[in-house]
Symmetry: C2
DNA sequence: GTGACGTTCACCCATATGGGTGAATATAGG
DNA sequence: CCTATATTCACCCATATGGGTGAACGTCAC
C-alpha cells in the first residue's frame, strides 16, 4: 500500500530494465516511427509494443505526436541525464576506490624495494 | 514461455529501479555494513531488506563477505559502468540533436539579418 | 457510407516484486 | 549446554509486468 510516491527516476530506470524497451529506444535513434512500424521489428504483438511505448512515455523518454490515425514517436533522451547523473556519482566513488587500491599497491611496491 | 535470457544489464537497471535499493547503495558509500545495520536505517522489515540485498547482489552491485554470523556488505560500483556506457550513447545522440537545433536557430537568425 | 487501417481498451494468464510473518539455521558467548 | 543474535527460508498477500486475444474507436480512402 502506501503511496509509493513513484519518483521520475524510478520510471526512467524501470523503463530501461526491459531489453525490448531499450531496443525501441535504439530503433528511434535511427528515425522516428509509428507504433506499427516499431511493432514490425519485434516478434511480439502490436498490443505489447503499445504497452511498452506507454511505459517509455511515462518515463518521458518518448514523445508522441498524433497526426490523423498515426502516432509518430520520437526519442526524447533528455530524462536520461537524470539517471546518468545518479550513476555518475557512484562512478566517482568507484574510481576513488580504484585509485586508493592503486596507491596501496604502489606504496607496497615501494616498501618492498 | 520464454527463457527470458536476463542479461546482466537488465539486472543492473532493475536493481536501480527501487528507491530503497538506491538508498542502500548510498548508505554503503559511507561505510560497509551488516544486513542488520542497513535494516536499522529503513522503516521496513529486516526480511525485506534481505531481499533487496539479494537483488543488488544479483546485479553485482554488492559484495558480501561472511564472517561468523555477520554478513558484511560493501559497495561494488563496477557494474554501473555498463549501465553508464549504455546511457552515454544516448546522451551523445541527444546532444547531437541539441547541437543541430542550435545550428538551425543560428542559421535562421543569420538569414533573418 | 463502407471497408480497411492504426491504436488503444478490456480482459486473461503466468510470473516477479515489494511488503509482511513465523520458523529454521548458524554462530557467538556465557 | 543453553541462550541470544544474525540471516535466511518458506510461506501469505496485493500489485505490477510481460505476453496474449478480441473488441472498440477513429480516421483515411474509395
Amino acid at each position: 500500500m502506501g503511496e509509493r510516491h513513484e519518483s521520475h527516476l524510478d520510471h526512467v530506470f524501470n523503463a530501461l530494465c526491459d531489453p525490448t524497451r531499450r531496443a525501441i529506444l535504439a530503433r528511434l535513434t535511427d528515425a522516428d516511427a509509428r507504433v506499427t512500424d516499431i511493432a514490425g521489428d519485434f516478434p511480439i504483438s502490436l498490443n505489447s509494443i503499445s504497452k511498452h511505448i506507454r511505459m517509455l512515455e511515462r518515463a518521458g523518454l518518448l514523445r508522441r505526436s498524433i497526426v490523423g490515425r498515426d502516432h509518430m514517436l520520437s526519442l526524447n533522451a533528455g530524462p536520461l541525464s537524470e539517471a546518468q547523473a545518479w550513476i555518475e556519482n557512484y562512478r566517482r566513488f568507484w574510481e576513488g576506490r580504484l585509485a586508493a587500491l592503486d596507491a596501496y599497491v604502489t606504496r607496497k611496491n615501494r616498501n618492498r624495494r
